[in-house]
């Protein structure tokens, strides 16, 4: 992996974004985590 490239930062919302999907496995997992947490909060 190219270590020199800067890490990107995303603000992940419940609806997600194309950017987060394009980020691949890490993106989709992070988005689902956010959704899950928000769902958990809502149901509390």
């Amino acid at each position: 992996m190219n270590q020199n490239k800067p890490k990107r930062e995303f603000k992940i919302t419940e609806k997600g974004s194309l950017g987060i999907l394009a980020y691949g496995d890490i993106g989709i997992r992070a988005w689902r985590k956010v959704k899950k947490e928000l769902y958990k909060k809502d149901s509390e």
């Binding site: 190219n2 609806k15 974004s17 999907l21 691949g24 496995d25 890490i26 993106g27 989709i28 997992r29």
Partner: protein, 866 residues
């Protein structure tokens, strides 16, 4: 140096959409890749069906060898049909070879790759991303989807489901999505499915790239292809048949797909070392201009008609040239090229060649007879999987939705029969594409001669219950439609110039297709042309052009004018064709030929070069470039162009060989030549005596005979009052337009061929043509007398016809490198005999008995002076 290679497949990606987006800064990742690498067109193959094409990419072979012949296959247990699987592939893929050589490969989403092969590395097969549309239905990852199976637990959550798509994903593509009536318009449903599937592939790909070691990684996305099939009709410019409301809703969808694909590329590029060679390529392009199809014809795989001949190719890496355009790439070149990067031998049975032009430092390719004969572990399946779960409803449904396959017949045996016919037909089309007409015809004859069952009342009733019959099929129709087979037979008979057969097939098509919806004016025009009915052919095409002008019809009109040697009109027509389609190699090559004949050599060379830029493996374009450069006096480069033409032609390119000899001779002598004739004796040369009838050709034959040149004659035509010393003719000459195989007998001899028949001489021989000239009035008078008409009444029509023939001889001489020609005036032969004989002997290049030759002159026979 690192040997890591990343191959990214973007189905249907097309430069026509990409370049404007790059210009607007909307595909930055691809732009970056191009700036540090090479780019070019990627030629597709016939038929342009993706599973066949991507299997050619992976094997370096055409489908007749690799065995993937379509979108579906018959299950080995004969219980039904299913989406094509890796079991159809009979050749080793690149990753099988790499496995054998100890390299690790990751393969994600390749079409077809299910069931996943047990290679050294990871295979996430093309079944991974296919999930049920209904969120309430379970979508288990079936056995064979992922190799190693143990990886399933790590990546099963990386599948995205269509129901997860939110407005944040939709609105960048379809800002007016809220205006869609989702009851009637299923556009959003298609959108969600395509997006979810490609996101799943991308997620699996990024995971294995990060987590698993690899030397070779291949990932395939169908995002662009599927978006194009669904939404290209709405892409700007708006077509008048498209309602404004729908245009406003979907007009940005295709561009959105390209931009999303670029975003995924950007992420992928973050994960590779700078010393990894990256290739991004597509298997074909997609029509985005006036050739877009709004109403799809009703036959299987018709949507592939929207596929354009050229896809795209970009490569960047440590040994790849920078910011250069590369030419002439074909899908089958990818595997040989990657094998070359890995320093592994290329199978001689592979159809492709390594694209050495892309490399800074060229490694000499190594070769092996065939990887298929190498024993050992190649990470392939040991047995053919026969599990029922291989039949995949979701995938089948998607192929049906895309229009690639018909909805399977209710009866399994009918579905199997249709599938078998489709696969056999596709194979016939592969052979047709390879110009192996015999093999293609063999399959097509089998297909038209088979007895097929017909639809019965009950079949029809059952189909209607499910869905109204969209194909217009009725009781009594055969289950298999043979019309496409006849269309291919028609194409072959035209290619083989068998116009009588072509006419039979055309009539058969008209009989079978009562409404005659098939567009056959090209075929009809070609048949008429073949039969010499040029005007009628031109009329048909002109009518078609006036009815609906397009590039092809203009091009065909241009070709007819070329045959008629009307080059100015041909040029105008081909230029019109180019206005419609600027990137057709054939158009540029033909235009270059016209320009040469019109004396505009510089512009001709430019068009020949453009043609080569578009398709490198185009011998005629190289040959035409050679002609233009030779005329411009650039002999060195002309020779290079002729050499390339000669090398590329699968059969011997006789004209190129002769042209090379000519240029080499010119280069040796390095002097000005105004004509090709340099009076050199050539082994096996054929001396042709030609001219208009009654211009002294028999006299010249007689003189050559006396002078020591052997004559090819059958003496069937006896001497008479008009020619008391004989005609020296050879009967087969009269039918040279049908059969010129007898020319072999003429080697080292002389034969008489009248002017209009010269164009039928086989370019594989060297000819010395002595063309007899005589005052046209004398010629016509002499002919009138010979046929018993008044020699003082001279028909003007004959004059213009003869002038035309003489003009054509001049054009023919100029374009045939194997022809050297001198004009000899009949009157000079009679009155300045010694000088004329000197010229003849010098031209033929042998010593001749001029004394005996001179004795042939009988001035009393010079009777019809003007």
């Amino acid at each position: 140096m690192s040997k890591k290679v990343l191959l990214i497949g973007w189905d249907a990606a097309d430069w026509k959409i990409i370049w404007p987006l790059i210009a607007k800064g909307q595909m930055p990742a691809l732009k970056k890749l191009i700036s540090r690498g090479v780019y070019g067109n990627m030629s597709t193959m016939n038929p342009p069906y993706s599973p066949m094409l991507w299997s050619s990419v992976a094997t370096g072979k055409t489908p007749d060898k690799h065995g993937v012949h379509g979108f579906i296959e018959v299950m080995p247990n004969m219980k039904g049909i299913r989406p094509v699987t890796v079991n159809s592939r009979k050749s080793k893929a690149l990753w099988n070879i790499l496995h054998h050589e100890g390299y690790k490969s990751n393969v994600v989403g390749w079409w077809p790759s299910f069931p996943a092969e047990p290679i050294n590395g990871v295979v996430v097969s093309d079944k991974f991303q296919k999930v049920k549309l209904n969120p309430k239905e379970k979508s288990p990852i079936v056995k064979g989807t992922i190799h190693p199976e143990s990886l399933t637990k790590d990546i099963h959550d990386l599948r995205m489901f269509p129901h997860e798509i939110t407005d944040a994903h939709i609105l960048p593509f379809i800002p007016k999505a809220s205006e869609i009536d989702q009851e009637k318009d299923k556009g959003l449903q298609s959108f969600a499915k395509i997006m979810a599937e490609n996101t799943s592939i991308h997620a699996a790909s990024t995971y294995v790239m990060r987590e698993k070691e690899w030397d070779f990684m291949a990932v395939y996305y169908d995002l662009i292809d599927h978006f194009c099939h669904a939404f290209m009709k709405f892409h700007p410019p708006k077509q008048k048949q498209i309602p404004q409301t729908l245009f406003d809703i979907y007009k940005d969808a295709v561009v959105g797909a390209y931009r999303y694909q670029d975003m995924m590329l950007d992420r992928t590029m973050e994960m590779v070392d700078d010393d990894t060679t990256v290739i991004v390529m597509s298997d074909h392009g997609f029509e985005s201009g006036h050739r877009r199809i709004l109403k799809m014809p009703k036959y299987p795989a018709a949507p592939a008609l929207e596929h354009r001949q050229f896809g795209m190719f970009v490569a960047a890496g440590p040994n790849i040239k920078k910011n250069e355009k590369v030419f002439g790439l074909s899908l089958i070149d990818i595997t040989p090229t990657i094998l070359n990067i890995f320093d592994l031998p290329i199978g001689k049975d592979m159809d492709g060649k390594p694209a050495l032009d892309i490399f800074k430092e060229i490694k000499k390719p190594k070769y092996i007879d065939s990887w298929e004969n190498v024993e050992g572990d190649f990470g392939q399946h040991k047995t053919t999987e026969e599990e029922d779960q291989l039949s995949d409803h979701e995938t089948m449904q998607q192929l049906i939705d895309l229009g690639y396959i018909d909805k399977p017949e209710g009866k399994v045996e009918n579905a199997i029969l249709k599938t078998r016919c489709d696969l056999k037909h596709n194979l016939a089309r592969v052979y047709l594409g390879k110009k192996d007409y015999e093999k293609s015809k063999e399959l097509l004859f089998e297909l038209i001669n088979d007895k097929y069952p017909v639809y019965k009342k009950e079949d029809f009733k059952k189909a209607e219950e499910e869905k109204p019959n969209p194909q217009g099929i009725k009781v009594g129709d055969t289950i298999v439609d043979v019309i496409p087979y006849y269309m291919d037979l028609l194409t072959i008979s035209l290619a083989e110039k068998e116009f009588h057969k072509a006419e039979i097939y055309l009539n058969e098509l008209r009989t079978r297709d009562k409404k005659f919806e098939i567009n056959t004016y090209f075929s009809e025009a070609k048949i008429l042309l073949g039969k010499g009915k040029v005007k009628k052919a031109l009329d048909i095409l002109t009518k078609a052009k006036n009815n609906r002008p397009n590039s092809e019809v203009w091009y065909q009109i241009g070709k007819i004018y070329m045959q008629l040697n009307r080059f100015e009109e041909a040029k105008n027509a081909i230029e019109k064709a180019l206005e419609f389609e600027v990137d057709r190699a054939r158009f540029h090559q033909s235009l270059a030929v016209c320009l040469i004949r019109l004396g505009n050599f510089e512009e001709a060379a430019e068009h020949a070069l453009t043609s080569i830029e578009l398709v490198k493996y185009f011998p005629e374009a190289h040959y035409t470039l050679g002609e233009a450069l030779e005329k411009l006096g650039d002999l060195e480069n002309a020779k290079v162009a002729y050499d390339t033409a000669a090398k590329l032609k699968p059969k011997t390119h006789h004209r190129a060989e002769k042209a090379i000899e000519n240029v080499e001779e010119k280069l040796e002598k390095r002097q000005e030549f105004t004509d090709k004739n340099n009076f050199k004796f050539r082994k096996n040369q054929i001396v042709i005596v030609s001219g208009l009838p009654r211009s002294g050709t028999s006299l010249m034959m007689q003189m050559l005979n006396k002078g020591g040149v052997k004559i090819l004659t059958d003496e069937n035509r006896k001497a008479d009052k008009a020619n008391p010393k004989g005609y020296f003719e050879y009967d087969p000459v009269m039918s040279i337009h049908k059969d010129n195989s007898w020319l072999d007998k003429a080697k080292g001899k002389s034969v008489k061929v009248v002017a209009p028949l010269l164009k039928f001489l086989d370019p594989k021989y060297r000819y010395k043509v002595i063309f007899m000239n005589r005052d046209l009035t004398e010629v016509v008078k002499s002919q009138q007398k010979m046929i018993g008409k008044d020699p003082e009444t001279l028909p003007t029509r004959l004059f213009s016809a003869f002038e035309k023939h003489l003009n054509q001889v001049e054009i023919w001489k100029e374009k045939e490198p194997g022809v050297e020609l001198i004009y000899l005036n009949y009157k000079d032969v009679l009155e300045n005999t010694d000088k004329a004989l000197e010229k003849v002997a010098a031209f033929i290049g042998i010593s001749m008995n001029k004394e005996e030759m001179a004795k042939c002159i009988d001035k009393s026979l010079y009777r019809n002076k003007s």
